[in-house]
Structures are given as structure tokens and as C-alpha cells.
């Protein structure tokens, strides 16, 4: 019956989940630099945060501009808890302190959520923005709790070591994060398969009908937000352990905007979308940010391209190939894709050149006109680099258009063939 039908999918599910766990466990063994570990830890915390955000945006249809409130307040409560534990005020294992963050997220979800979830759509978005600003203002007003500009610092290495685990070395913190990521991810996925999770979809798609099958849409949205606040709080608690400091930034609008960006880039319509989005987002922020000052510009361009050409996010781009794979038609795509990739790289090189030269010119031209890019050294005050960069960009743009129309034709063919195959 019902369950039989999903058996083949379940196998795929095991592969995806097992693979995810394996990758997370193995990655730091392959890349041992401290930089990678920092990035991976950041991604881990980000994944929980983005998935909790997607309970609202993807599953519940609630566009929130203030989700950092729940993770940030969770982080603040965790930091105070850690400080109290180290003073000996009470005993609590560090491993479980993210639960304190989760509890704080839940409580504030109850308090703020009751108001925000009364309405959906634009009203919800505006109220969430207002509450975000309000909490951020509070963080600068109540310095005792929020620590003002400096924030509140803590020390995660407290209590006796358990099996050699002190959470001193960052690799131990990384694996703590991995453990929480797996548990939270499984829990949030399980939630999508519960009556409340399904009714959150129903309320997202057609709130009026949901009311006429017995559901109070306010209550569905409210409970969804409270649960989402719980997981956001856990993410906050983990970030507190990871950085050993919590500042007003943790509840700020930049954090709230970042999680929206990451979720959208990854694909809000799919459970795994925010996971992909978080990986892309933090790679852009941290890895690209370490190389160039223009990282935010590139992130903005990526966001723009995704909104315009792939509103379903990376997840939809990946999943649209599943039927093609099943129909064994992928070979029709390889050539156009290779062409699109090659021309795309030219376009990207052109874009990067223009952007980097412009940044260098506007920021450092007077003091250090010399710069290096792609192994070439040149002066940004000369005309030549500008001409080459612009030429590369324009040329890349033109050949890319040809390559993309080839991709489009290949897809038209494939859809045509697949329609013939299935009456």
C-alpha cells in the first residue's frame, strides 16, 4: 500500500543521508588546514540555521526578515549559561549546552511568534523585520545582558575532560557540531513527515481551505515558528561554543538576511536546498572573502542570477536532471554543458578581471598601482589591462549566449523525447 510505493525512494534517501554524514566526518581528515576547519564548522552551524529558516520559508510559506533573533538570543543564553557553569553556579555538560540555546529560541518563538504568525504574507514579513530591529536595538540598550559593542565572551573548556574531550581543539568542536547537525537535520526532516509538517504545507498553499478542514492557520504557523525557533536556538548555541563570543551581530539584520540568501540560493522548495545554499554561501563569504575584497559583490551577482534564472535554487537545478538520467538522455547534454562551462569560465574570468581591476583602482591606485591577477602583473593606471578585461567580459558574454542557446535546444529535444516516451 502507501508505504510500499516509497521503498525505492527510501534507498535513495539512505544514500543521501549516509553520504552526507560520511562527507562531514571525513572532510577534516582530508583538508587539515585550520582555515578549512573554521569554514566547515561555520557551514555546519549554518546548515542547522538555514534548515530551521526553511521550516518557515519553504515549508510554511513565511518570509521572515528577522530569524537571527531566535539564533542570536539562543547564543546569548548559551554564553551566559557557559559562564555560569564555569563559575560553578550549576552543572551542565558542554556537549548539551546548545539545548539551552534551543530552549531560549523556543521561548522567544512563543513570545514573538504569537504576534508575527497572526497574519501571513507581507504582514508577517514586516512584523518579523520590526521584531528583528527591536531586538537589535535592545542588544545595544541592555549592556549587562548583551555586553554592548564588545559582546559577551566565554570559555568553552570547562569541567573535567570526558574521554579526552575538552572542546579545547577546534576539531573536537567540529565533531560536536557534526553530531548536532545530523541530529537536527534528521529531526527537521522527520518534522516534514508529520501531521503538523504537512499542514504547514497546506496552510502555505491554501490557508482558506486549511481552515475549512478544521485547522486554525494561526496555530499551524505559530507552532511551526516555535519549532523553528528551537532549532535556530540550537544553531545559536553551537555558534557560541564555536566562537566563544556572542555580539549584537548575532541578532542583527545582516545575519537574518544572510540566512534568507543562503536558503534561496540553495532552493527553499526542497529539504536539502538550504544545505547546498549554506555550503555555497559560506564558501563565498569565507573562501572568496579571504581572496578578494569584492566577495560581497560576487555574492550579490550570484543571488541575482539565481533569482532571475533559477528561482528554485541549486536544488532544483540538480533535481531537474533526475528524470533525464532515468530516461538515459544525459549524453545529449554533456556537449552543450561542456560548451556552456568553457564559455562561462571565459565570461567569469572577464567579470572577475573587470571587478578586481575596478576595486584595485578605486581603493589603491594612488599608493600601489601594480596588481596581479591570474598570474599576470600589471598597473591599473595603464589602459591595456582595462581593454583586455573588458574585451574578455564582452567576448565571454557573446560566446556564452551561443552556448546557452545550445543548452536550451538540447533541453527542448530532451523534453520532446520524454513526452513521447510517456503518453
Amino acid at each position: 500500500m502507501a508505504t510500499l510505493k516509497y521503498r525505492p525512494l527510501n534507498l535513495g534517501r539512505w544514500i543521501v543521508w549516509g553520504g552526507t554524514a560520511l562527507v562531514m566526518i571525513v572532510l577534516p581528515l582530508m583538508f587539515t588546514e585550520g582555515f578549512t576547519l573554521t569554514l566547515l564548522s561555520q557551514i555546519g552551524v549554518g546548515i542547522i540555521f538555514a534548515l530551521s529558516y526553511n521550516m518557515l520559508l519553504g515549508q510554511g510559506g513565511m518570509l521572515s526578515f528577522g530569524h537571527a533573533v531566535y539564533s542570536g538570543l539562543g547564543a546569548y543564553f548559551t554564553v551566559h549559561a557557559l559562564n555560569l557553569i564555569s563559575k560553578g553556579a550549576f552543572y551542565f555538560p558542554v556537549t548539551l549546552t546548545p539545548l539551552i540555546g534551543g530552549l531560549a529560541g523556543t521561548v522567544f518563538g512563543v513570545v514573538f511568534g504569537y504576534v508575527t504568525t497572526k497574519k501571513s504574507g507581507t504582514t508577517f514579513a514586516m512584523i518579523s523585520l520590526g521584531i528583528g530591529e527591536m531586538v537589535f536595538a535592545c542588544s545595544l540598550m541592555f549592556a549587562d545582558f548583551f555586553g554592548g559593542e564588545a559582546g559577551i565572551s566565554t570559555n568553552r573548556v570547562i569541567g573535567k575532560a570526558f574521554l579526552g574531550i575538552t572542546y579545547g581543539p577546534s576539531i573536537q568542536v567540529y565533531y560536536l557540531i557534526v553530531g548536532w547537525v545530523l541530529v537536527c537535520m534528521a529531526a527537521m526532516f522527520a518534522w516534514t513527515q508529520t501531521p503538523l509538517g504537512r499542514m504547514a504545507n497546506a496552510v502555505r498553499d491554501n490557508p482558506e481551505r486549511a481552515e475549512f478542514v478544521g485547522y486554525d492557520t494561526h496555530m499551524v504557523r505559530f507552532l511551526t515558528l516555535v519549532l523553528s525557533g528551537f532549532f535556530a536556538g540550537i544553531a545559536g548555541g553551537l555558534s557560541c561554543i564555536n566562537y566563544e563570543i556572542v555580539t549584537a551581530e548575532n541578532v542583527g539584520a545582516v545575519r537574518s538576511g544572510g540566512v534568507l540568501l543562503a536558503t534561496f540560493i540553495g532552493g527553499a522548495g526542497f529539504f536539502f536546498g538550504p544545505v547546498i545554499g549554506t555550503i555555497v554561501f559560506f564558501t563565498m563569504v569565507t573562501a572568496v572573502g579571504a581572496i578578494t575584497q569584492a566577495w560581497l559583490f560576487y555574492l550579490g551577482i550570484l543571488f541575482l542570477i539565481m533569482v532571475l534564472y533559477a528561482p528554485g535554487g541549486f536544488a532544483s537545478l540538480i533535481l531537474m536532471h533526475v528524470p533525464v538520467l532515468k530516461a538515459r538522455l544525459m549524453r545529449r547534454l554533456w556537449l552543450p554543458y561542456a560548451a556552456a562551462l568553457a564559455t562561462g569560465l571565459v565570461l567569469l574570468a572577464g567579470l572577475v578581471s573587470v571587478v578586481e581591476i575596478t576595486y584595485h583602482y578605486s581603493l589603491e591606485a594612488s599608493t600601489a598601482p601594480a596588481m596581479a591577477l591570474f598570474g599576470f602583473e600589471f598597473n591599473v593606471t595603464d589602459a591595456m589591462p582595462w581593454a583586455v578585461a573588458t574585451g574578455l567580459f564582452a567576448g565571454g558574454f557573446i560566446i556564452s549566449r551561443f552556448a546557452w542557446s545550445a543548452v536550451g535546444r538540447a533541453w527542448d529535444d530532451i523534453i520532446h523525447v520524454m513526452q513521447k516516451q510517456s503518453p
Binding site: 502507501a2 513527515q193 503538523l196 497546506a202 481551505r209 485547522y215
Partner: protein
Amino acid sequence: MSTAIELKGVTKSFGNTAIIRGVDLAVARGERHAIIGPNGAGKSTLFNLISGRYPVSGGDILLNGESVTGLKPFEINRRGLSRSFQVTNIFQRMSVFENIRCAVLWSLGYKYSFWHRLGGLKDANLRAEEVMESIGLKRRRDTLAGVLSYAEQRALEIGVTIAGGAGVILLDEPTAGMSRSETADAVELIRKVSQGKTLIMVEHDMGVVFDLADRISVLVYGEIIACDAPQNIRGNQAVQEAYLGTEAAA
């Protein structure tokens, strides 16, 4: 207690415009009752008042002897009244099966549960399969509701309405826009699913009305001008003038 639905002096105005101007109506338990009337008579508005979509301006509505006036749609639904819509109102992005399962969850007591796994809810899944069977959409089980044909969507609309097992069912123009053969199927479906329940329907197709209804109320300009068995309505002079006459002439 044999009255399923009772309206006492129900009125509804939008601004200065009175749409429903004092409706008294009692529908017995197990009765199939049709409401007919010309366009703009207030038939759909009356449904919206009974089901709690709009608040009444005056009067009282009783469901199984208890007042439901001023209650929200979900509260009225939980007391055993379910309705369909004139314009198909289903969960377009969900499969047929998911649509119906959403409609049975509350009545089976799962409410806002986030500790039950949907796949493991034997009663809900069984009930959803049964409803799909009865509305003839079993082979469309995993099709998204949004891509069903019009007649199939109308059948699903009825399925979602009856799935929760409500004792009182309101159907708003269930056969509107259907072909003759589709209408005949819909009539059989309605007859089947309303077995042992109280049915109130708004319908334009006189064939459907005279075929299904035990009693008919004629609503003209927000007032019920006649309420009687079909054969008596057919012979009623006032109804002829106000409604059936124009229909026959058209």
C-alpha cells in the same frame, strides 16, 4: 433532536447593501436540501455565513441545536460541518492522496501533532484511500491536484469536503461547468457520499436539483420565498414567476 441546521432570522449586509434579508430555514438530519435562486440572490453568501467564512450581521445559526454564530470556520468544521466551494479550492501543489489525507487528519484526532509519522498513521491513510476510491480518483492517487482535469478537480473538491466525516455537508454548485455525462457522474457521486448525512447544496442545474433534493428552498433577493418538496416547488406560482419562469424562457 432532529434538526441538523437551523437559521433564525439571519441577515447579512455589506455596507448599506442588504444581501441576506432575514432567512429562516430548518434542515432535518439526513435531509438532502437544495437552495436555488437567480444569480445574485445570495445563495453563496448564505453558505459563507453558515460555514463561518463571513460573520452574520444579525440572527442566529444553529448546528445540531447549538449556536455556531460568530465561530471561526475551523471551529464550525470541528463541530461537524464541511463545505465545498464554487470555485475549486484544493491544495493545488499536493497530490490527490495528500489533499484528502490533510482533510482527515483533524477529525481523526492528530491535530497539530509533530510526534506522529504520517506514513505510520494507518487509520488516516486507510480513510484517505477509501475516500479516493469513492470519488473515483484512485488511479490518480499521486497526481498533483493542480494538473487534474476540471471534472476530476471537482470530484476532489467533494472528496476533501467529505473526507473528515462531517455530518452536515454544504456543496456550492458541485456540477457547475460540467458536461452532461460528467454531471450525471457527479450526481451519482453526491448521492453516494451524502448517504446518511445532511446535505445542503446550491445548484443551478434543475435536473440535478429535482433528482437529488428531498426539499428545495428558493432564495430571491436575500429571502426564502418558498421551501417545499420538489413537486410542489415546480407548481408554485411565485417560484414560477421569480425564477423558474425566466429559466424556462431562456
